[in-house]
Subunit: 268 residues, 2 copies
């Protein structure tokens, strides 16, 4: 049976690979299991900084961190004063996108699916504004209220109706980084997106990306994020399930919005 | 009553503007009328080369030419050997996109809505292959047949179902220049586009553009196109309606595909 894979933090117990020695701490692509045999360590990065929680290497210092950093800074090139919107904004990636956008001097609004999450956005992550999309009968109206000037950058995590509403509110030469479309993954047939004509007159760029293309920027990324964590300029919220036996339920919870912050599983 | 505007070729009868003199030939944004008063000549370009048909300045040497040039070369940066697909490929812009792509050393396939148009694509414009989309019950299958390797660049003129089929056939790091979505303009509600998730894993860029942003490249554009026309390396097919009274019917014909090549109206 193939193990289920995912990003994890681990200690090397034994290694014949010259770059990894016994007792090294690493993060990267491993199995949902207590002990993993890693034969091709393409995505297995040695942990240098241990004065931060090791779990952060599954989040703010791991793949979600690089995703937020690359999607916002590399794909969207934010400029000071631009208007940034993040959906699924309290999740593993979204909470970081908002904080990176604030570091870049942008005005940032996020949406999430509960009052608790909206409060986190405004009071913990420093978003300028936030709304609960489940309580907005008209997403277009919600965005017009939050962005009377329109949106320069949209960090897309959800797809479907939300993307349609965003397209109506984008500004000239807006950029949309497509990170995920979680609202669509479990539908038999995806909802249609109906407002793509907006791309033309407004010269909007919609671009998909994967963190894996940007790991060469990881040292530069750490130079920004490690001091920001130490100085309290960036924070990270995790939702930790205890024990591998609780991992499946935690995974399912991602699709119903049960988790608050980055969902992770403490195995050992 | 406001005149209907459009791109035309005209002779200056009188001018108080220092850049335009009596008897200058110009192309640009004028009215659907015999005589126009142009008060703000932002898009009114003097015609320098008159050894080509003047009507070309409404097409291959005018806005459609700049649209094809900018959308393909500037938005999509084609590389030799890449696979290019053009929809509405026999139209004012599409026929030029295909020819520009051939000049760049690409493999080019176009689609159009009649056997006559498909023959034009293959026999006159030098497309490597072409198909009649109206005779393809399964657009995905048609594209897989024409592009067994997939598509690097899609020049989007139609939207809707065609875009959905293209998304399934794009290659890694594909580029889609969104020029128009003519299949959607007269629908009460646009068809949905359901396959945008493809953008993520394949890192596809979908970008809207307007020719108006690229007129600074017009001299460079002419340096390529004027010799290409003179040497017979580029050709252009026009569909000329005679008389202003036939203009409305010609416009309506665009939406049902009645025209073959660039639709224009000879006023005087």
């Amino acid at each position: 049976m193939q193990p289920i894979n995912g990003y994890g933090v681990a200690k090397v117990l034994d290694s014949t690979h010259p770059n990894y020695a016994k007792d090294d701490l690493v993060w990267g692509f491993t199995g949902w299991e207590e002990y993993s045999l890693v034969t091709a360590p393409q995505i297995l990065i040695k942990i240098q900084h241990t004065d931060v929680p090791l779990s952060y290497y599954t989040g703010i210092l791991g793949m979600p961190g690089v995703t937020a950093y690359a999607g916002l800074y590399e794909v969207c090139s934010p400029k000071k004063g631009e208007y940034v919107y993040v959906s699924a904004a309290s999740g593993a990636v979204g909470q970081l996108v908002g904080q990176f956008a604030k570091l870049a001097g942008c005005y940032v609004v996020g949406s999430a699916g509960s009052k608790e999450k909206v409060d986190l956005l405004k009071n913990k992550f420093g978003f300028d504004d936030a709304f609960n999309y489940k309580e907005e009968p008209d997403l277009d109206a919600a965005l017009k209220r939050c962005f009377p000037q329109g949106i320069d950058i949209y960090f897309e995590n959800v797809g479907g109706k939300m993307l349609d509403a965003v397209l109506l509110n984008m500004r000239l030469r807006g950029r949309i980084a497509v990170c995920g479309m979680i609202s669509q993954y479990n539908l038999e047939k995806p909802e249609g997106v109906h407002n793509l004509e907006q791309l033309i007159g407004k010269r909007i760029r919609l671009e998909g990306f994967l963190a894996g293309d940007y790991y060469h920027l990881y040292p530069k990324f750490l130079e920004l994020v490690i001091p920001a964590i130490r100085e309290g300029k960036m924070v990270y919220v995790e939702d930790i399930a205890e024990g591998l036996e609780n991992a499946p339920a935690a995974l399912v919870g991602l699709f119903t919005g049960r988790n608050v912050g980055k969902q992770l599983v403490a195995v050992a």
